[in-house]
């Protein structure tokens, strides 16, 4: 096991370099230069479509940025949205969790206005387009969509292979293309699950001192499968 320096489990650093844009090049380019998206942009897509990765990457690339996952803000109540107005970019992940509740929406409105006054940008992610997000305040819905509404399109298989290899390379692993394609055929296909498997392969390869060859990967997957919960028949 590798030693973690901090009590938080660090995921692969979410950077633009490890994000496979596939058909989503335009929104990736926009978030890489968020001044163009100011005052706000809305990024949406189903779970595991890369929203968090993209927002974290945008935050990692800009020194004055903040990345705020709604789930972590939630317990602290709407006042957690105060004190971010001096940032040049605020990325609010899963904003739809906060919508439909007046006090949260009012606080979010306050954050938007404060950022807007200062020329900052608010990028939010959600699982739906703004029209279906259940806003209480239509004025807020309209402002959050001001800089454009972008749907993250699912990656094609070739893009997934490229994404996996890119991620592996970033952590110093060589993942041959045929092995990546094999993973795609044998494992759950969403990128989050695939990346979790990449984690396990990384650990296994380190422990065994072996490279990610086809026979080794087959072995790890075969060994890994029974550990997963089995659905009741």
């Amino acid at each position: 096991m590798r030693q973690l320096p901090l009590p938080v489990r660090l995921r692969d650093f979410a950077l633009f370099e490890t994000f496979e844009a596939g058909p989503n090049g335009a929104v990736v380019a926009l978030l890489a230069a968020p001044a163009q998206a100011a005052p706000a942009a809305w990024v949406w897509g189903p779970p595991a479509s890369g929203k968090s990765h993209l927002l974290q990457a945008a935050c990692a690339a800009h020194a004055g940025a903040a990345y705020l996952p709604a789930a972590e803000l939630w317990p602290g109540g709407p006042t957690t949205l105060a004190g971010w107005e001096d940032r040049s970019l605020v990325c609010l992940d899963d904003v739809d969790r906060l919508l439909g509740q007046r006090d949260w929406e009012v606080a979010l409105f306050g954050l938007f206005n404060a950022l807007w006054e200062r020329g900052g940008c608010l990028v939010v992610s959600a699982t739906t387009a703004p029209g279906a997000a259940g806003f209480v305040l239509p004025d807020l819905a309209s402002r959050l969509a001001w800089g454009g509404v972008f749907r993250l399109e699912p990656l094609a298989d070739d893009d997934r292979v490229a994404a996996l290899r890119k991620r592996a390379r970033h952590r110093g692993l060589e993942l041959p293309e045929d092995v990546a394609r094999y993973l795609l055929r044998r494992l759950p296909r969403d990128m989050r699950a695939l990346c979790d498997w990449l984690d396990r392969l990384d650990t296994a390869s380190l422990a065994a001192g072996r490279r990610l060859t086809m026979p080794f990967v087959r072995e790890v997957i075969a060994a890994g499968r029974p550990e997963r919960p089995v659905a009741p028949s």
């Binding site: 979410a14 957690t80 206005n113 006054e117 239509p138 004025d139």
Partner: protein, 448 residues
């Protein structure tokens, strides 16, 4: 001591993910004091996160790097350098320029009016002509006969733009003027904080010494009695001094529920003007103007395509344009009609899917508080016939269905009935304010 923190930062930068570092660590302000390092965070959420994830490590690093100075005590609080936490929390309205003479309050700095929102960048059309003219008069002659100026209309139609334009123009003419643009939500939250921190005098002073107060979305005051009370006094103070007040709201002042009557009355003292959804031609002109400001060539047929599909509001139009521009920049492709259709694929199909005759009938029935069955019936009394005609005209405008198809969908009416309805509504929208407003509201609801 500063070197210790610098070394901590370097280590943390390599140990945390870059987004965590930027979010939680980079904004910390470090103050070195005798044998201790005091860290100031912008809000309690950051303090909490650091306590849970990182403070132990910071203490460890400070101890290891302390050198001959011995062990350092590290404390973490909410605040800003030079200001106690509670002072930093109260932010009063933002002045655009420093008031001449007395020293600036420490709060009156930071934000400004958006310089892009001027009268020159405002696209005028039939829908917003009156509002623009009123706003321009106010900007040329603040505190004059149009006081207050009350702008009302739906979401994203340009109220905020006009307010900023007034502010910018007043400043252009009189550079030392004290102008503040404040969203009502901020007025309320600032007042609450000022009350909590016993700083009401300062709050009052700063609002009541303005030359122009531009206050947006006053429907946010609904049901907030204490804020209304305070705003009432602010209003009176400014009005008596003949300082300009500009208010915006999503509806006519008398129709705001939960707003005190004495405020409603005062809001009507000056000029009250509506701003409506732009007609197609204005939408097109807005798109062309925005595109040219971005340095992009937008063919007019593409502007028509976008404007025809997105009828709800100007912000949404701008959003769609931003997306087309972002895609074209990224792919380095010229913007053609095919390109725009592809770039806006889901947006356009979503609009297509949502607006069906069925949907129109339900929305119209709900709006006029009648039954959908009434729309399909043969009844001819005004309470039913007018909504039916409006629904037919909306169906013609928003769907691709033909006159006979629309007739069929309304309980088997003849196509000439639909034709007549469309013409009648077109005429009434010119001559009858009520019909014009109803039609605009329905159009907005259906395309939002």
């Amino acid at each position: 001591m500063a070197a210790v923190w610098h070394q901590c930062l370097n280590r943390l930068r390599s140990e945390l993910s870059p987004d965590q570092f930027n979010t939680y660590v980079a904004p910390l302000q470090a103050i070195s004091e005798e044998g201790s390092l005091r860290l100031l965070a912008p809000n309690p959420y950051v303090v909490n996160w650091l306590q849970q994830h990182c403070l132990g490590r910071i203490r460890e690093l400070a101890r290891d790097n302390g050198g001959s100075a011995g062990p350092l005590e590290v404390t973490l609080d909410v605040g800003t350098r030079g200001l106690p936490a509670e002072a930093a929390a109260v932010s009063l309205p933002v002045m655009v320029s420093a008031p001449p003479g007395p020293p600036r309050s420490e709060f009156l700095s930071g934000a400004r009016l958006n310089p892009d929102f001027t009268f020159e960048s405002f696209v005028e059309g039939k829908s917003n002509q009156l509002a623009r003219a009123g706003a321009f008069q106010v900007a040329e002659n603040p505190g004059g006969s149009y006081n207050p100026l009350f702008l009302y209309g739906g979401v994203g139609l340009g109220k905020t733009h006009l307010m900023h334009a007034i502010g910018n123009r007043i400043l252009e003419r009189k550079p030392g003027a004290r102008v503040a643009y404040v969203h009502s939500e901020r007025f309320v939250s600032d007042m609450v904080r000022a009350l909590q921190n016993n700083r009401m005098d300062e709050f009052k002073r700063s609002y009541r010494s303005l030359n122009a107060l531009l206050i947006d979305d006053i429907q946010f005051f609904a049901g907030k009695d204490r804020s209304q009370e305070e705003f009432f006094h602010t209003f009176n103070a400014l009005f008596e001094e003949r300082q300009q007040i500009v208010l915006s709201c999503d509806r006519y002042p008398k129709e705001v529920d939960g707003l005190e009557d004495r405020l409603k009355t005062r809001f009507g003292w000056g000029l009250t003007v509506a701003i409506e959804a732009p007609e197609l031609e204005t939408s097109v002109a807005i798109l062309m103007k925005k595109a040219s400001l971005e340095g992009v060539t937008l063919p007019s047929e593409v502007a028509f395509l976008i404007a025809k599909r997105i009828r709800s509001n100007v912000r949404e139009l701008e959003g769609a344009l931003r997306r087309v521009i972002a895609t074209s920049r990224f792919l380095d492709r010229e913007i053609t009609i095919e390109f725009a259709k592809k770039a806006l694929g889901d947006l356009l199909s979503l609009q297509d899917r949502l607006v069906t005759i069925d949907n129109i009938q339900k929305t119209v029935a709900q709006y006029y508080k009648i039954r959908v069955a009434d729309l399909m019936s043969k009844r001819r009394n005004r309470a039913v016939a007018r909504p039916r005609q409006i629904a037919m005209a909306l169906a013609k405008e928003l769907t691709e269905r033909s006159y006979p198809e629309i007739g069929d969908a309304f309980g088997g009416k003849d196509h000439t009935t639909v034709l007549h309805a469309c013409k009648r509504i077109r005429d009434l929208r010119e001559s009858d304010t009520r019909v014009r407003e109803d039609y605009a509201n329905l159009l907005r609801t259906l395309t939002a």
